[in-house]
Each structure stands twice: as C-alpha cells, then as structure tokens.
Amino acid sequence: MKNNKPNRGLALMQRLALAPYSVWSVLFIVVPLLFIAYYAFTDSAFHFTTDNITRFFTATSEVADGDGVKLVRTYLVIFWRSLRLAVISTLICLVLGYPFAYLISRAKPKTQGILITLIMIPMWMNFLIRTYAWMTILQDTGILNGLLGLVHLGRVHIIGTESAVVIGMVYDYFPYMILPIYSVMTKMDVRLIEAAHDLGCSGAGVLRRVIWPLSLPGVISGITMVLIPSISTFYISQKLGNGKFYLIGDAIESQYVANNLHFAAAIAFILMVILLISMAFMQRAANKRASV
C-alpha cells in the first residue's frame, strides 16, 4: 500500500541529502570554470582586456625552414599539431580497438572477463611510468633498437619524432576506446545479426548495416574518451617528443610554470570552447544517425 500522505520528514531528508553536493558542485565545479573566463579576459591588475585571447591568435615565432627562417603563428601551429596528433591517435585506437572489442564480445563469458581485466591492468599503472617505459623502449640506444640489431634489421629513429608521441598516446588511451565499444557490443541483440545473415546479407553488409550502426554510441564515447585526453596531454610530448613537439597542454603548463596565469587561462578557455563546440557537433551527428 502506498503512503499517500505527504511525508514531510522524508521530503526534508531527501532535500538535505542533496544539499552538500549542490553547494560543493557550484563552488568547485561551476565557479572555477568562471574563473578561467575571468582570468582569460583580464590583465595582471584584473582590468578587462582581450589581449590574452588576441595573443593566442597572433603571437608569432621564427622556425627554421630549409634554407631560411619562416615566421609562423606560434599557438595556432601548436593547436593544429595537437589536433592532428590527437585525431591520428584516436583513429589508430579505433581501427585497432573496434575489431578487438568485437572479438571480446563474441568470446565465452569467462574469456571475456579475463580479456577485459587484462586490458584494464595497464590502466592501473601510473601513466607517467608507462610513458617513461616507452621512452626507454624507443630510444636510439633503447630496447627496440637492441632487438632489431640482434636480428640484423638495422636501426630505427623514433624517439623525438611525432610517431613516438602518437605511440605514447595510443598506448596510454587504448583501453578507453575498447571498454565503451565492448560494453555496447555485449548489449547488442545477437538475433539481429543472425536475422541479417539469414536474410542473405553478406558478412561485410552485416558489419556495415547492423553491427556498426548499433555500436555507434560506444564508438562515439570511445572517440571522446581518447580524443580529449590526447589533445590536452602535456607529459607524453615532453618525454617521447623530446620536448620538440609542443602541444596545447604543454603551452598551458609552461605558462603556468612561468606564472603567466592569465595567458594560461586564455589558452585553457579557447581549448574548452573548441572542445565544447566539437562535442556538440558530434552528439548531433550521432543523434541524426540514430534517428535515421
């Protein structure tokens, strides 16, 4: 039997339960974000200015270019590089991870459990150490070159190149791609796939018309979970890129270290706005696909 009388004690208790978190989330989630905007649009005396934002788009620096020096827009170059490397890493994770997630989801339940645990174990290892370990593998005198030398395959120079940074990103964020795709695939109705096969759909057709659309929510969340940390990382590029490949995260960090808090805030603000806009677009695209 349902209690129809309004229970005042209960209502009060429920409201009280939410109170600490409401206050906390406003104070420590919402207000700090406003502080980013506030610092981004003020100078060191806290007077309004758009200089920090303009600096991001106009600051130039000289770069060696074949036989001379070339003037480039410093932060736009950095931003473009971060975006490019993050997109490449995300695509590699997707291409490697999607079939693997599918494989796991079709295995026996016990094998599934083991494989998922195995994928998660490296995640529990501190990411600084993981990244550093890759540095010792990829170094010119490192383990990879040692192994290649043993089988007389010559040497490769990877450390300090963009490839090394991409390897680091793929390694560090690979599980974030697999887990959401896997979890969507296990919930997929197997009968739909069987039905498609029975109705004469080819293997590739089933993949394109049934499995892929059904797994799209997992793919979208996998892409976000890899893209966002790789676009904003600042350790991987320092260690594996030998500091030669400044990324947007490095730019924020170095401004913080130099105590230029207002400019650091401006870069963070721009990054945040761009990410918000692109995520809104991706969500819309996903919703459109889903409704078709």
């Binding site: 339960a17 906390w24 989630i29 502080f35 904003s232």
Partner: protein
C-alpha cells in the same frame, strides 16, 4: 576463437604488456641502465626503502586517497539519493550537466580552473601561498564525486521502490528505512564507487600537479619529479610494487564482487522460498 583472432589478441596483449614486462625486469637490474640488463639484483628495492622522500609521498598519497574517497563516497551517495527524487525536470537536467563536467573536461582544465580560484581566493585573504593539502583534497573530492554518483544512481533506480515504502508503512522512520533497507540494496554500487574514487585519487597526476603546494608531494608528483632527472631502476622498483599491490586489490575486489553478488542472490532465493511457504 579463430586462429586469426588468437594472433590478433596476442599482438594486442604484447603491445599492452611489453612496457610493463620491461619495467618489471629492469627493476631487478644490477646496474643503473634502463635498457641493458646485466644480472639480477635487489639493489634498487633497498635503495627505494631508504628513500625518505618517496616513502613520505606514499604516506601522503594514501592519506589523500583515503580521505578523498571516503568523503566523496558519503557525499556522492547522499547526492544520488537526492538526485533520484528530484521532481523538477530542469533541476535534474542541470544537476546531470554539472555532474558530467569534471568527467568530460580535460584534466588540465579542471586542474587549472581550481588552481586559479584557489590562488585568487588566497590572494584576496592576503596569503602568499594558497595551495596545500587542503586545496588538493578539495580537488580530489571534486573529480571523484561524479564517478561515485554514476555508480550509485543506477542502483537506486533499479531498486524495488516498494521496499523503503513498506518499511516506513510499518513504522520505520525515513532515516532508519534508508540505512536499514535502502543502503543494503545499493551497497554494491557504493563499494564500486568507493574503490573507483580511491584508485582515481591514487593515480591522479594532472589535477594534483596544478593544485598542490607547500611541498605536499603525492606519489605521482614524486614520480614526475623523478623523471625530470635521470631515472634509475629505483623508479621501476616502485612501479613494480605499485603494480602488484593494485593487482592484489583488483583480485580482492573481484572476489568481493562475486561474493556480494552470491550473497544477494542467496538472500533473494531464501526470501522467495519463504514467501512460497507462507
């Protein structure tokens, strides 16, 4: 699995575990080298246990992770209970959006945003340095909370609503009904949330990096400082120990999960059997 799938799985596993295997191996290296192995030795483990700074960082990390995970679990569970009952739709939507922010935002932005606020408030009160253990604790609670809520809220939604109602109809006070009926039902969610918060706090580097001060060093920050200079296998010895501790925790939590699932199942079956007898 088909042979080709097996090969693919093996290749992925080699990629995932190669760095870890190398790290475990070189922690036992006889020399300083991280790429040439020259004999087994426990030298770096001895070095590690003599390193006061690292041991201090371990202590700091544990204090921080225990306090942050306990506080965020209590606050987050209460929040989930309240959010579940929010009737006004726009309020609920607003809470969902705010809760998602720390999970979607890059860590560097969460870190910078909190740091800016702490520095500003500190300056306002005339403090020279405003970053310390307290600011770091606040930051850790903040990024742990959404994960706790995310674990607990679905459990509340799956719960049989008539249970707490029945308890109250039978004369239980709302508070008692909550602790005696609701909490046991959502307990697996609370524990998963607690474990998640604990490990997230333990492993966080980026947000800690921006919100720490006054020489308060956690393990990830200590590791960061170690990798700025030439690294010795001592760091790998540290990593190896962390690896095995986490592995054991993971296995224990799996056992615990299986156990709670089993107990709940048994309790349900008993209940069913009883109701049939009646």
């Amino acid at each position: 699995m088909k042979p080709i799938s097996k090969v693919y799985t093996a290749l992925i596993m080699i990629f995932l575990f190669a760095p870890i295997a190398i790290l475990l191996m070189f922690s036992f290296n006889g020399t300083k080298s991280l790429s040439v192995f020259s004999g087994f030795s426990l030298h770096w483990y001895q070095e590690l246990f003599r390193d006061e700074e690292t041991l201090g960082a371990v202590k700091n990390t544990l204090i921080l992770a225990v306090s942050a995970s306990l506080i965020s679990t209590v606050m987050g569970t209460a929040a989930a209970v309240g959010m579940d009952k929010l009737k006004r739709r726009y309020l609920r939507a607003a809470m969902d959006v705010v809760t998602n922010i720390p999970m979607i935002n890059p860590d560097i932005i969460t870190g910078i945003s909190l740091m800016l606020m702490f520095v500003f408030v500190g300056r306002f009160f005339g403090a020279a340095t405003s970053l310390n253990f307290g600011t770091m604790l606040i930051a850790h609670i903040t990024f742990c909370l959404p994960y706790v809520i995310l674990q607990v809220l679905p459990k509340i939604q799956q719960m049989d609503r008539s249970l707490p109602e029945a308890a109250m109809d039978l004369g239980c006070t709302p508070l008692r009904a909550f602790f005696k009926v609701e909490v046991p039902e959502i307990f697996p969610g609370i524990i998963t949330g607690l474990i998640m918060a604990f490990t997230l706090s333990l492993d966080d580097f980026v947000i800690s990096y921006f919100t720490t001060g006054n020489g308060f060093q956690t393990l990830p920050i200590r590791i960061y400082n170690m990798t700025k200079k030439t690294v010795t296998p001592k760091m790998y010895a540290l990593a190896t120990i962390i690896f095995f501790v986490i592995l054991i925790l993971l296995l224990l939590s799996n056992v615990f999960d299986a156990n709670t699932a089993q107990t709940i199942k048994e309790a349900r079956e008993k209940k069913k059997a009883k109701s049939k007898e009646v």
